[in-house]
């Protein structure tokens, strides 16, 4: 649709493969004021990463909004404690803003720790706390001394950068915990799973694979997370990083401090899941049984899902998908996974991609694919319509854009309830895509209905078309 124009300041954040313009993707910048970005803030970045630690207290220091909007918002499951699903806030009022919120924070912490006996506490600093200058670190130290549990400040003031800076703050908080392990001793054939958040039980799927391979999982950061486990993370021989955008900073710090190497993997789709498992097996090549077991595992699992994928592929062949996800790394896997079921990607965007990410995306995509950094609803709608997508993959904020335009939708964000990782996850993904793309409702939606060829003569008069 030509009537949607792109703001001049954003032109360099949009690239169409195959067009003459040189590839100069601008990214890693703050969102443009007034552009209705799909992005959130620093606080959001910290909150998503730390959220699944289920036996920790997550206290949001600020007025109520930040806590209200993130209460039980994620699909991150816990096999035990459910404390992470509570929403705690110091709920600052006008007088707290004037006189400072330190006392209230301290009091709240002591009471909450007494009431819930968490294994640790994370204190998220919101915009206002940065402005009024509460000494949150000092309060944390004091409460830690008094209660004996780790009390960790998370400097996530919303205006201090982008969501990425929030990831960094979360990594610092996690590292703060890990360092409390006095004498880390490497365990054989052991890994940490990093950047995996147990959405809909995904951690359990991945852990099951590693167990079958004969690999010890020391900790998952932070899916189905526990404070004690995180504190053991320094004992692993390898860090296997999934959501690289969020936890690479932590992996790097652990490499520096403990000499633990890391590899980046993805568990979305058959191709990337197999690749991830093989690479981990390869790392432990001193134990040849691991590779053997991995081969068996992959073979069995792939054989289980292929027949179903083949059936949906018949219906999905040649259909077009648009992606708008948080990290670009996820987009790479999704492109491959969509290919497995016969679909082609016509739009790929991310909230936080780097220049290298976009280079890779460009290489992976077909001619004519649009690549977007930090998009907004208008741009997403523009390209989805221009390229005539059959499917949109995104989060809650993208859903109405797809639905209003009569396009199928698959939620690939932190809020979904269905696991999409691994081999069984691929089956779930294919099922969801198949169900939405082949739904008969699209025939009734005006934009789609108008495109269909006119009904056979004689039947036309039976309907009073608008």
């Amino acid at each position: 649709m030509s009537s949607i124009s792109v703001l001049k300041a954003r032109e360099k954040q949009i690239f169409t493969k195959g067009e003459e313009a040189p590839f100069e993707m601008s990214c890693d910048t703050k969102s443009l004021a007034g552009a209705v970005s799909q992005r959130a803030c620093v606080f959001c970045g910290s909150r998503v990463v730390l959220y699944p630690i289920a036996d920790a207290l997550h206290l949001i220091h600020g007025p109520i909004g930040c806590a209200s909007y993130t209460w039980d918002i994620r699909g991150a499951l816990s096999s035990g404690p459910q404390l992470h699903r509570m929403s705690f806030s110091t709920d600052l009022s006008e007088t707290d803003i004037i006189y400072g919120g330190e006392q209230k924070l301290q009091q709240a912490l002591l009471e909450l720790i007494d009431q819930y006996t968490p294994k640790a506490a994370f204190i998220y600093c919101t915009c206002i706390v940065g402005i009024i200058g509460d000494d949150v670190d000092a309060v944390c130290r004091q409460v830690e001394e008094e209660t004996g549990i780790p009390v960790i400040p998370v400097h996530s003031e919303g205006f201090k950068g982008t969501k990425k800076d929030g990831y960094r703050a979360a990594c610092d908080a996690l590292f703060n915990l890990i360092r409390r392990n006095p004498a880390p001793a490497p365990l054989p054939r052991s890994i940490n799973i990093l950047g995996e958040f147990n959405i809909g039980g995904e951690t359990w799927i991945i852990k099951k694979y590693y167990e079958a391979m004969g690999i010890n999982v020391v900790s998952v950061i932070t899916g189905d997370g526990r404070v004690d486990e995180v504190m053991q993370a320094g004992n692993a021989a390898l860090n296997v990083v999934q959501c690289s955008g969020s936890v690479t900073h932590l992996a790097q710090k652990m490499e520096e401090e403990y000499g633990i190497p890391f590899i980046r993997v993805s568990y979305f789709g058959i191709e990337d899941t197999s690749d991830a498992l093989y690479r981990v097996a390869e790392f432990f090549k001193d134990s040849p049984r691991i590779m053997e077991k991995t081969r068996d595992l992959v073979k069995n699992e792939v054989n289980k899902v292929i027949p179903y994928l083949e059936t949906v592929k018949k219906d999905l062949e040649g259909k077009k998908a648009a992606l708008y996800v948080g990290g670009a790394f996820k987009a790479f896997s999704l492109i491959k996974a969509l290919k497995t079921i016969g679909m082609e990607v016509i739009l790929a965007g991310s909230q936080t991609g780097t220049r290298e990410d976009y280079e890779i995306l460009k290489e992976m995509c077909n001619q004519g694919t649009v690549i977007l950094d930090d998009a907004n609803p208008l741009e997403l709608a523009k390209y989805v319509m221009e390229k005539d997508a059959d499917l949109f993959i995104g989060g809650v904020k993208e859903r109405p854009i797809a639905y209003k335009l009569g396009i199928g939708f698959c939620d690939h964000n932190h809020e979904r309830k269905i696991p999409l990782v691994g081999f069984e996850g691929m089956e779930n993904f294919a099922r969801e895509v198949h169900e939405t793309v082949t739904s008969p409702v699209w025939d009734l939606v005006p934009r789609r209905a108008a495109k269909k060829s006119s009904p056979p003569a004689g039947k036309e008069k039976a309907y009073d078309t608008p």
Binding site: M1, S3, I4, S5, L7, A9, K30, S31, L32, A33, G34, A35, V36, S37, Q38, R39, A40, C41, F43, C44, P63, I64, G65, C66, A67, S68, Y69, W71, D72, M86, F88, S89, T90, S93, E94, I97, E111, L112, Q115, C127, I128, G130, I131, I132, G158, F159, K160, P377, L378, M385, V396, K397, R399, P400, Y403, K404, L405, P446, R447, A450
Partner: protein, 473 residues
Amino acid sequence: MTPHRPDKNSPDSNRHDKPYTATQNACKMCTPLGAALAFQGIERCVPLLHGSQGCSTYMRRYLISHFKEPVDIASSNFTEETAVFGGGANLKLAVENVARQYSPDMIGIATTCLSETIGDDVPMILSELRNNFKGPALVHVSTPSYTGTHMDGFHQAVAAVVDRFNPAHKKAPYKPKKKKCINLFPGMLSNSDIRHLKEIFAAFGIPVSILPDYSDRLEGPSWQEYQAIQEGGTPISAIKKMDMGTHSLELGSVLALSAEKGFSSAGALLAQRFQVPCTRLPIPMGVKASDRFFEALSEITGKPVPKRYQKQKWRLVDAYVDGNKYVSRKRAVIYGEEDFVVSMAGFLAEIGIIPVLCASGGRSGYFKQALAEHLPETVLPHVIIQDDMDFARMEKTARALSPDLVVGNSKGYAMARRLSVPLVRVGFPIHDRIGGARILHIGYKGAQQLYDTIVNTLLRTRQTASEVGYSYM
């Protein structure tokens, strides 16, 4: 334009000492969310939050998951430098970009806790901008999130819009006697509620300006072409004529009390500046409150209540009789926005359910008084009323009261589940079901739907609990 609040220490205050300091699972949202929703109810208006990017994204997400519709809210997107040196440049750039991308008729600018605290002088920034900017009307509302809840933000935004388009220095209007247009400020109701109000006024044959009206915009059809701003909302031209209205109606018992005590509500502004009489009524839920509403309309318009509503009423009363045994003496916990709870409690009381706990995260200070005025004297002694409440405390209190059902928004689901009692979903937000915005609460028709839902919920509970699962009531 902060609502007048009673003194914390005054004897009529219903504040209580909190047993703990932190808020656990809040029963409220923040002030700018209410403002953003109100702005969505104005034709060709785009809300803009002056603050960090996250505020607008979180609020968009929150509203989208209730309405299941696109909700665009722009942000002026503070950076660290902005926080230090002030948000003027960001706000101007944001206004220009919103104007360029959306070509709105109005941008509704609400401040967040951040921009309020660094002391941005938004009216000054906007007046500087207006000097060399020919664009949409800019309406500003001050909504620091630490001063109230989303309901405060909502009412303040409505008042700010009326204030902006009907300034005190506006010439005394010529009031044509024949064209009787009523201003209706319904408060935060559902889409279906707003649509029902429109039907009622149409049936009376009286023109009405409802502010805000997001019923079309946040529940429209699928699109042939992408719409940057959805159709619908109160036209600005209608808001500009509110000074010529023959009457204003404001719904909400708590709103009424705060207006009496000095809050410049939209109705109060019009009354004060242009002598438009203002009638304040509770949200019409149930027979008695709907009677009051229809009687008031009849009185204001000089027209009898249309027959169809009489019929609706008597059908409803007949249904009350049919189901009386299944609801009588049952005990309900209800929560939500203060005005909503006051009216919902009134409805439950009139069908025989005791609202044993009436809770709200609101802190207007008038909650208890409004309920005391609204509930029958026989019921009142059995009711615990608590404002400034969160779900952790609510659950504790509710457990001791052994309720039969919970009535409120989706946020009480976890509590209801743990209490092992059914939740009847009403109000805002409804995140875990489809059609939350289509729930009809008001008028005889709304009461009918709520009544059927409540009775059937209780019947289902009984049926499920029965060993044999009876096939008849």
